[in-house]
């Protein structure tokens, strides 16, 4: 019986080994090798000296942080709104989920029409009399970071909303009824019941989206270009454009470390039992 269950796990183990473990280990090995085939930290030294690498790290952190704040706030608001009952709820739910089905590269192209110099956003602001000259939404660094984070939030907030909605629906209604009987208002119910009991779902949403946000790739590349480097686009350009697999691997390895550290820190703060539960 034991052997049979082990045998049943073999395809999964094989899959994980071939498509996850081997590439990750190969990348790590590559990052510690020099082009001459020696072991060393040359690739990491090259990264430290690279004029764009520091920016790539900061941009990745900023987009991830800003994006997560927007996604969790908007996702929570949408989930709370959808948790109640109202007319047209099904239609609203479908409409809110549409961005999730749009491929990222299509979303990036769409966002170019929104945030371009002659894009819809500038046009709307101009017609409202709020602008006389168009704004280049991806022109300066921090504006570009905000624009990319916003575009990413538009795309993935529905996922966060779905996770949180499932969490909300798992909270027993009786708790709210008891709170109302005791005279608790909507805000008190939200802070004392909803938010604490939603912690497992929030943790799950944070981890899923956090890992994904660190790996953001197509949006910054298509929306802004190379002058807003993030770690994944940095690794891509190093590998494909400049033919430097070692610095590309080193950059990817650091991205992996950042993801592991962030998830680890959050689990430590939020409590890993939430995930286990």
């Amino acid at each position: 019986m034991k052997h049979a269950s082990l045998l049943g796990l073999a395809p999964l183990a094989l899959y994980l080994g071939a498509f996850t473990l081997v590439p990750v280990v190969s990348t790590l090995v590559l990052s510690f090798r020099t082009p001459e085939g020696q072991w060393g930290l040359g690739a990491f030294r090259a990264l430290a000296a690279h004029y764009q690498f520091g920016d790539a790290v900061v941009n990745t952190l900023a987009i991830t942080g800003l994006g997560l704040v927007m996604e969790l706030s908007l996702g929570l608001a949408a989930a709370v709104a959808l948790a109640g009952r109202f007319r047209g709820q099904g239609l609203v739910r479908v409409l809110l989920l549409i961005p999730l089905g749009v491929p990222t590269i299509v979303a990036a192209s769409t966002m170019r029409y929104v945030f371009g110099m002659v894009g819809y956003l500038n046009e709307v602001l101009y017609r409202l009399g709020l602008l006389t000259l168009p704004i280049d939404w991806t022109g300066s660094r921090w504006l570009a970071v905000g624009t990319v984070a916003l575009a990413d939030a538009w795309k993935v907030t529905p996922l966060v909303m779905l996770i949180l909605l499932a969490g909300l629906q798992a909270i027993p209604r009786e708790l709210y009824e008891a709170a109302r009987t005791d005279g608790a208002g909507p805000w008190q119910q939200f802070w004392r019941i909803t938010l604490p009991l939603l912690r497992p779902a929030l943790t799950m949403a944070f981890i899923i989206r956090g890992v994904d946000a660190f790996r953001i790739f197509a949006l910054p590349l298509a929306l802004v270009g190379r002058h807003l480097p993030v770690l994944s686009t940095f690794a891509y350009v190093e590998y494909l454009e400049y033919g430097n697999p070692h610095t590309s691997a080193a950059s990817s390895a650091l991205l992996l470390v950042m993801i592991v550290m962030t998830v680890g820190a959050y689990l430590r703060l939020a409590g890993s039992e939430e995930v286990v539960r």
Binding site: Y51, M117, V118, L133, D136, G139, G225, R226, H227, E241
Partner: protein, 405 residues
Amino acid sequence: MAVSMMQGCLAVVWSVLTIVLAVTGADAQPTVTITMRLAEAEWHVVRQEVLPRFEAVCNCRIRAIDIPPETLVQRLRAMQQAGRMEIDLFAQDNMRLRELVDTALAVPFTAEEGQAEEAIYPSLMAVGVSGGVRYFLPFRPNVQIAYYNAEKFAQYRLQPPRTWPELLAVARTFYEKEQIGRVLFTGAGGAPTTTQLYEWIVAAGGDPFDFAHPGTVDTFRFLAALRPYLSSESRRAKWNTTNEALAQEVAYLAQNWPFGVPLLVQEYGKTAIRTYSGWAGPVREAHVIGGDVLGIPVGAPHRQLALAFIRHLQSREVQTILVNRLGWASVRSDVEASVEAWLQPHVVAVGEALRHGIFRTNVSYWAAYERLVDEAVQRILWRHEAPDQVLPPLAARLATLREQQ
């Protein structure tokens, strides 16, 4: 019964053999195999309008295949080592020729074979020669020209710039009139940026592979002076997005390859877009010539037919088709009168640019060089760092690269 069955089988075998011999017999048409890297629409025109004319005249069949430029050398080498060369003629990017010569995969043309018609631009003949021997012949040149929005230029009573000071003045005027930069520099990085900068450096009398050369330093200083008046789209500008910027009137002046002409005029209906060869630097006017050249591999089975096909591709008739149907730049200076009226001014612009054409030096460290150019442009243009601070360390790294090769 058995005898009649055997006779029946023999009759079938005989019939099959007769058919096979009829198809592949000694008197069948020879098949010439060529390889080119073309887009689907380009293949359509070549297959429909270019190949049949040659097949009819030479009584042969052309088998056209598409081997990517980056794998051509390996494929030819494999065929050579197997003692079975299947390719009679190849078209290859003019930046990927060195290895074909170094590995002796390209066979030299004799002086007679290598002679070009008078109508072929002399500047295009330079690229096919190595060590005084001709290995390649021009077929499909490409050269960057300047696109401008004639309505906007007329609105502000401006003339298309012909020199660097005029370019700066035009960029400044647009900026002052509209508070937005309208001159586009292809500053997204990679090949588009390197190509544009290469010709600017040569136009300034600089050495593109020496960042300490006074002409190269002057080019970067000029870029820094131009920066405040450049369109902000310049950060993202590549060859494809340049068309978009011109079509949407985000930019009024930009350099790009001629493929944008049919796109802008026919697809976007931007009849106000005009073209000319571009501007000169402090020393000369220079435009990088891209595109493909033709070569014959070692052991090609039909060398004479391949040579005839090269002449066919270079002929006025075929070049006119390629210009009219695909908007390609022509190797010939005499197709202008034969092209459609709306295309003629653009063909003149391309011809003028080709007269000032230059070829990029084929260096084995091109990818590393491109990385240094990207860094220089990023730091000087988009991080506003001073050229005099940025260039010296990059010049040292470039010198090291040169020495290592």
